[in-house]
């Protein structure tokens, strides 16, 4: 089902700028995970959040279970940040993830 709505579907940034990706959930989620798919097609774990915020370098993610959304902020974008980003929501105690449709990020010089 469409438990996870991710936006935007595509995003273009100039180097050094920033923006935010967002996922809305149709029901209460236990946790959220963010991934980046690199040019080789592999999925890289970025964040796992059960609540609050986490920051790693130029990336910061927030999750509000009550308000049913999560965000991924990218600042000072670099060319190597280009790729497709996915959020995934954990609905159950069995760690089964429901994925958004992805955001294709292109960082331009």
């Amino acid at each position: 089902g469409d438990q996870v709505e991710q936006s935007p579907s595509a995003l273009s940034l100039h180097e050094g700028t920033g923006s935010a990706l967002r996922c809305n959930f149709t029901t209460t989620m236990r946790a959220v995970q963010w991934f980046r798919k690199n040019s080789r097609g592999s999925l890289i774990n970025l964040f796992y959040l059960a609540s609050g915020t986490k920051e790693n370098g130029r990336l910061k993610s927030a999750f509000d279970s009550k308000e049913r959304y999560s965000t991924l902020h990218i600042r000072d974008a670099q060319l190597e940040d280009s790729g497709t980003y996915f959020c995934a929501a954990d609905m159950s105690n069995y760690n089964v993830l429901y994925f958004g449709s992805g955001t294709k990020l292109t960082v331009e010089p």
């Binding site: 097609g41 592999s42 774990n45 059960a50 996915f86 995934a88 993830l97 449709s101």
Partner: protein, 113 residues
């Protein structure tokens, strides 16, 4: 960090043929998962497993079977492959609850002609 490997990395199959995708994880995780990733759909769950001998249907199980013969191995089986099953398939492993994330393999590109 968990190590999840998949084989083959690329596969070309004919319609009606049998395809087996293999996944191996070395971190002793109980749970394993098979997803397919298609443009516009993100990743969708096909089958998953809670441990050796267990297989559960995900969101899109039709046309696929799964097998978990051991803690380390989880296979996805296409008994009669169809062109609509052309996709990139990802295997993942993880633990129940806690702060563990799911750890993904590198993916398998399958082309069904």
């Amino acid at each position: 960090e968990a190590a999840v490997t998949q084989s083959p990395r690329n596969k070309v199959a004919v319609t009606g043929g049998k395809v087996t995708l293999s996944c191996n994880q070395t971190n002793n995780h109980n749970n394993m998962y098979w997803y397919r990733q298609d443009t516009g759909h993100g990743l969708r769950l096909i089958h998953y497993s809670y441990g050796a001998g267990s297989t559960e249907k995900g969101d899109i199980p039709d046309g696929y079977k799964a097998s978990r013969p051991s803690q380390e191995n989880f296979s996805l089986i296409l008994e009669l492959a169809t062109p609509s099953q052309t996709s990139v398939y990802f295997c993942a492993s993880g633990e129940i609850g806690g702060q563990d994330t799911q750890y993904f393999g590198p993916g398998t590109r399958l082309l069904v002609l």
